[in-house]
């Protein structure tokens, strides 16, 4: 790598397991400020586990995770989130019985500065005017697209330095998939670094700076997005037909 800048998020040889089942094996990856990095791989390759491990929701049993110059692999999720990392989880997982307003407020749960929070909420409404219309509605009653917007908005009110996104296009209509990727680009342009997990490799790579390909818990390919798109082995590796 030629970049002089130190990565804001750096995983070095991270391994994780669910009970006896090994999920990650010596995964190393890095994300630099301002980038969109995407993490590709077939089902069960360990993509979501990587994100969960970064956030301390699954424990790494080996390796180091450094965020913003600090080792975080032993911290609790709460502590990690307070340092400026958060996630848009797979399947959105909103608090369905709470209003849109409360969902956004809870995203800012760890922050104290009311004015700054309000600014972030306004920024979310700028991105998704639809949410503002539904501010008092229960999140569970929103449509699928609106829910995805709220999930992203909720993560943004935490004012993250790095945002992890787990399959944001899953289960969405084609038109919404398009919107989601537009939004991701916009958020990134506003200065949020993004680590994106996607099935939809081509679309994801089209907006990303760099990409990694995971296969059965290992990184098998790492390159710029452009190079990956043209990589002859991409489909082999990504398709995971190596069972």
């Amino acid at each position: 790598m030629t970049e002089q800048q130190a990565p804001i998020l750096d995983l070095a040889s991270v391994s994780a397991a669910y009970g006896p089942v090994r999920a990650l094996e010596e995964v190393s990856l890095e994300v630099r400020t301002g980038e969109i990095v995407c993490l590709l791989g077939s089902n069960a390759a360990g993509k979501s586990t990587t994100l969960r491990t970064i956030l301390g929701m699954t424990r790494a049993h080996a390796g180091e995770i450094v965020f913003d110059g600090e080792r975080i692999e032993r911290l609790s999720t709460q502590e990690i989130v307070s340092r400026g990392l958060t996630m848009v989880p797979e399947n959105r997982r909103l608090f369905g019985k709470m209003t849109v307003r409360e969902n956004l407020a809870i995203g800012a749960n760890l922050r104290k500065d009311k004015a700054a929070i309000q600014a972030d909420v306004d920024r979310v409404f700028g991105l998704f005017p639809r949410l503002k219309e539904r501010i008092s509605q229960k999140a569970g009653t929103l449509s699928g697209g609106e829910q995805q917007m709220l999930a992203i908005g909720r993560a943004l009110t935490a004012s993250p330095k790095v945002l992890l996104m787990d399959e944001p296009s899953m289960g969405l209509a084609p038109i919404l998939v398009e919107q989601v990727f537009d939004t991701i680009k916009e958020i990134n342009a506003q200065g949020v670094t993004i680590l994106l997990v996607e099935q939809n490799a081509h679309v994801a790579l089209s907006i990303a700076d760099r990409g990694y390909v995971l296969q059965t818990g290992r990184i098998v390919l790492a390159d710029t997005a452009k190079a990956l798109l043209e990589h002859p082995n991409l489909s082999d590796a990504y398709l995971g037909e190596l069972e």
Binding site: A44, T141, S143, M170, I175, G240
Partner: protein
């Protein structure tokens, strides 16, 4: 000729939301029908109404000479409709084979007496159940058959999808309803799925209705496509016809659809 499955003016309302609104829908013997539409358009609700999980507020549903309105899900399965679920819902603590054996339930009749005394009819029925469940699993080649005794929860994601279909096949249906079978699959797996759905129709003679967001899958298998939005049917026809429909493009496909599929 009457349709195999025939819905006339079916509506279903939840609180303030008209989930399904005066929908006419049909599927013929041997036909594969794709159902598309934005999230929350009422596609899954339609499935739930057909399979008896919700009673329709109004409208008629007929299948193979039976009126389905008022029947319970288990009775509808018995008449010959089987389904899969949007999020895979297997019996995780049962083995692969046991999952498929549960599918045979409506085709068997052993009761308490047979269970207690292992009568000869019960024993032969059990053998038949095993054989049929095994046959359904064999349909997926070497994907499921070698893992008969693994727990369903231990399967890889795509295999879970397959097992769910196998379990539905074991009920010996005439009509198979598949709810987003391609969700979470990668392109290669989707190709496999397209082939599989074709084989289900050609080899097993099933009629199939599937909900899908993935246009290559829809275009790859459907004889006919129905588009829903806000509970209403907004378009119907071949994939090309529906994909060219302006309303569908605006509500659902977006501009990329017009750029062609990769």
């Amino acid at each position: 000729m009457s349709h195999l499955l025939d819905l006339e003016g079916v509506s279903k309302r939840f609180g303030g939301v008209q989930a399904v609104d005066q929908v006419d829908f049909h599927a013929d013997q041997g036909e594969i029908v794709g159902v598309i539409g934005p999230n929350g358009a009422g596609k899954t609700t339609l499935f739930n109404v057909v399979t008896g999980f919700y009673g329709p507020d109004s409208g008629k549903i007929r299948f193979d000479g039976n009126n389905l309105v008022g029947l319970k899900p288990n009775q509808i399965t018995k008449v010959g409709i089987a389904r899969t679920f949007q999020a895979v819902r297997l019996f995780g603590a049962m083995t692969v084979l046991e999952n498929a054996m549960v599918g045979q339930h409506p085709r068997t009749r052993a009761g308490v007496f047979g269970a207690l005394f292992h009568t000869s009819s019960t024993r032969s029925e059990e053998e038949r159940v095993q054989a049929k469940a095994g046959a359904a699993l064999d349909f997926f080649g070497d994907r499921l058959s070698p893992r008969l005794n693994s727990l369903a929860s231990e399967l890889a994601y795509a295999d879970r999808r397959r097992l769910e279909i196998a379990r539905a096949m074991a009920t010996e249906p005439k009509l198979l309803l598949l709810d987003e079978p391609a969700a979470g699959m990668n392109p290669a797996e989707k190709d496999g799925l397209i082939e599989l759905i074709g084989r289900l129709r050609d080899e097993k003679g099933y009629s199939i209705v599937l909900i899908e967001h993935d246009m290559p899958v829809i275009s790859g298998v459907s004889d006919r496509v129905v588009a829903l939005d806000y509970g209403k049917k907004i378009a119907e026809g071949t994939y090309e016809e529906v994909a060219a429909n302006q309303q569908v493009i605006e509500a659902y496909l977006g501009k990329s659809a017009t750029q062609g599929q990769t």
